[in-house]
Amino acid sequence: MNSTQSLDILLSLLMFKEEEIFLSVLLWVFIVFLVLTVFLFLMAAFLRIKNKITSLYHKFLKKNWDAVILKIMYDEMHPYDGFKKLRRKHSLSYLFHIEEYIDLLKGKEKDRLMKLGRMSLKNIYKLLRSKDTGKQIYGIHFIGLFHPEEQYKFLMVNSRDMNMTMTAIKEMHAAKDIHIKEQLVRMLLTFPYISYIYISNLLVEMGPDIVPFLRQVIEKRHQYPHEQMIAIETVRRMKIHGCLDLGEKVLLGTEDPGVMACWCKYIEDQKDVHQLHLVIPLMEHEDPGVRTAATRAFLVMADKIDSEIIKKIFNDRSVMVAVNAYEILKGESANMPYLSVGSIEKLKWADIYKEIL
């Protein structure tokens, strides 16, 4: 059989003219996957070469960028003049490069580079208008870096997209205008699935001028425990005393264990002995998290703790109550002359050990 004959057979198989349909199907499957494989192989090779060339090109560009950025940073060149000298100043790589500097700087140097960065705003708005989600995220990121006040607009529009939301809220703490800040805080409180610790850390970065707003949340938003938890955690982390007077309102107005535990942590940190009477009943609460937090607050604030109370704490049905109590007592033992270290050790090994080992 010569090659012309073989080709004829192959063609007739491909056109299902032969009786061997199974073989024809196999051939078609083979051809489809072969074409795909070759395409993918070429793509992999192309990507490898492209990455190599891009990284070399970036090395070259960075030399130009660094020279200009350093001059602007040290006030040897005006940002406007520097901007004109930059190559590829509308590229994403340039924006990421300048961000690296901004992240490391403070004060006037940072302000100068921020000015330079803001000159690329036209490009950033172009990214924001793009239909590609990835580009929009880059846009949100850079608008957050150079214009944090604008962030809340994107949150309002895109709060259902997790990636955009997280990118937007990350930078918003840098906003300076108090009205914008309040709007941002209001918005941040509405994300029920983001860790409340993360949100409160973001709020801490916004500074103490949001405290009056947080106070209102603690005082009035009993029906929204997640919001209250964030607000309490934030004032605790900011070490604000000004909200301590809300203790009764909070603890008597809520049934949410999370809120109770957060408040106990707050008064533990502030060592507010006036609220001891509110804490003691919570040591009997059915939720182990509340009992743990209340016990910690009690042990830190109480004037005198007798062995019977400690024994009761150590025999709590949740081991975490005992573990936390042990942690406090170990640290506080020097301040409790009426309770010898030996007796704590004895309790630990006798009661806890027996109970939990």
Binding site: F22, L23, V25, L26, L27, V29, F30, F33, L34, L36, T37, L40, F41, M43, A44, A45, L47, R48, N51, F96, D103, T133, G134, I137, Y138, H141, M162, N163, M166, T167, K170, H173, Y193, I194, S195, I197, Y198, N201, L202, E205, V319, M320, A322, V323, Y326, K348, W349, I352, Y353, I356, L357
Partner: protein, 458 residues
């Protein structure tokens, strides 16, 4: 004879349809993975590794490292764990009744002293003999216990874990310094997250310094090289896509972070199973769905754990045999979830996929080969059939492997040289001749020993 030919023809068509559908499925999964990877890379680019707010919000984590007769690796692996950059991390090294000098080595190297650690949960386990704390690294603890296999050792770790999250890792896995910080991000971004896992890569051929990767290269051993390709395929094409579909059934036992409270509520790791990592994930899906608990199980492509792959046919065969038994056990134990709309995509998509393609796959593949051999022997099939079938099977496998390489090139391109890429493509071709068939054979053997109820692990 005519009837026999018809039967054989029907069988051939079934095999072809089965494999084409399998490969189309994998192809679709790769496309889904591509989308997931693209969006993950954007997020990665805009997140700073020094994000102070994120670091301050990181929940405390306990690293659980079960070990049985790991005298060779234990010190090296704990030293590498001690270098992990994370704000609040404890390490619980669990000596599962080793008969070598694992315990002595740990005690002397890290100056371990008897200490008190409260037991916070009450999962049933073998007895704990002694607890130690390191005098030089206060966050390093050692629990010496009576042997009870890996699941039992992990349950002991869970019982003594006081942090809201724990990370289960294999003793021979090396974590990159920022792996834990990256893998916990889903827990911060969404409090419904109960599990988050990272990618496992083959460490053979790479150079390590002080327990951390220094130079990435391909292994010299051909079996290990096959595994590099397999892992890329499994983690990019498989797990990333299942994550995107909210239906991950596997988070590798070598590197996964879990929410402590939910694992305790679900009963911890199961003792009487061989694939305790997969079984736990399937059970968590089931537990959360049954109790109407909103949950998320996540897989991320860049927190990396490096692990040594087997380099001999015997050890590799044993590993694959064990994986197959684990898969069978996990799926059959929770067979109620199969095609059950109550379990949504997990019941209607992931479980059927694993059942039809991962469990039945090796049988159909090897039966297909056997039928071809018989047909060839009795002269009922021409060589053109055999060649065409072989070519189709090779090209399908190759296509998926090359797709994974594209995903690797698009994302982290950890294998730096161009020759690495060409080498992997060569591996993608030759693995289809011999290695793939061996794998099917090991998996059939695994199924057979599962039927005979063989649950040996170590």
């Amino acid at each position: 004879m005519d009837i026999l030919f018809k039967i054989v023809n029907v069988f051939n068509i079934i095999v072809l349809v089965y494999f084409t559908s399998l490969n189309i499925w994998y192809f679709l999964l790769n496309i889904i993975a591509y989308k997931g990877l693209k969006s993950y890379l954007v997020r990665l680019k805009v997140s700073s590794p020094n994000d102070k707010i994120l670091i301050n919000s990181a929940p405390p984590v306990t690293l659980l490292t079960p070990a049985f007769n790991e005298s060779q690796n234990c010190v090296k692996s704990v030293k590498s764990q001690l270098k992990i950059q994370y704000p609040d991390m404890r390490i619980l090294f669990i000596n599962d009744g080793s008969t070598d000098d694992t315990l002595e080595k740990m005690i002397s190297t890290f100056k371990m002293e008897p200490a008190f650690l409260p037991k916070v949960s009450k999962l049933k386990t073998q007895a704990v003999k002694q607890i130690y704390q390191s005098a030089i690294h206060p966050n390093l603890w050692l629990i010496d216990k009576v042997n009870g296999k890996k699941a039992d050792a992990l349950n002991v770790g869970i019982n003594y874990c006081q942090t809201p999250l724990f990370c289960a890792i294999d003793n021979d896995s090396m974590l990159e310094p920022d792996s834990i910080a990256r893998v916990v991000v889903p827990f911060i971004e969404d409090i419904r997250t109960i599990v988050s896992g990272g990618i496992i890569r083959i460490a053979n051929g790479c150079t390590f310094e002080n327990g951390h990767i220094k130079k990435v290269s391909l292994p010299k051993n051909i079996l290990a090289r096959f595994q590099v390709m397999e892992y890329l395929r499994a983690f990019y094409g498989g797990r990333l896509a299942w994550d995107r579909l909210d239906s991950s059934l596997i988070v590798s036992g070598a590197f996964g972070v879990f929410k402590h409270s939910i694992v305790v509520a679900a009963g911890g790791y199961l003792h009487e199973t061989i694939g305790e990592d997969m079984e736990l994930i399937v059970r968590l899906h089931r537990y959360c769905s049954d109790h109407n608990i909103p949950y998320k199980i996540r897989y991320l492509p860049d927190p990396i754990a490096w692990t040594e792959g087997p380099v001999t046919l015997k050890t590799l065969g044993k590993q694959r045999d064990r994986w197959q038994r684990g898969l069978l056990d996990s799926v059959l134990r929770h067979i109620k979830m199969l095609f059950n709309p109550k379990y949504k995509k997990v019941g209607m998509l992931a479980m059927p996929f694993y059942f039809i393609y991962e469990i039945l796959g090796p049988f159909i593949e090897l039966t297909g080969y056997l039928v071809f051999i018989v047909l060839l022997l009795i002269g009922a099939a021409g060589t053109s059939y055999i060649i065409a079938f072989l070519l189709v099977s090779i090209i399908m496998g190759m296509c998926l492997s090359v797709f994974s390489l594209v995903l690797e090139e698009l994302s982290f391109h950890r294998y730096p040289k161009f020759s690495h890429m060409l080498n992997l493509i060569f591996v993608a071709i030759i693995e289809n001749i011999g290695y793939r068939q061996m794998n099917s054979w090991w998996r059939i053997k695994g199924t057979w020993s599962f039927m005979r109820n063989n649950q040996s692990w170590y």
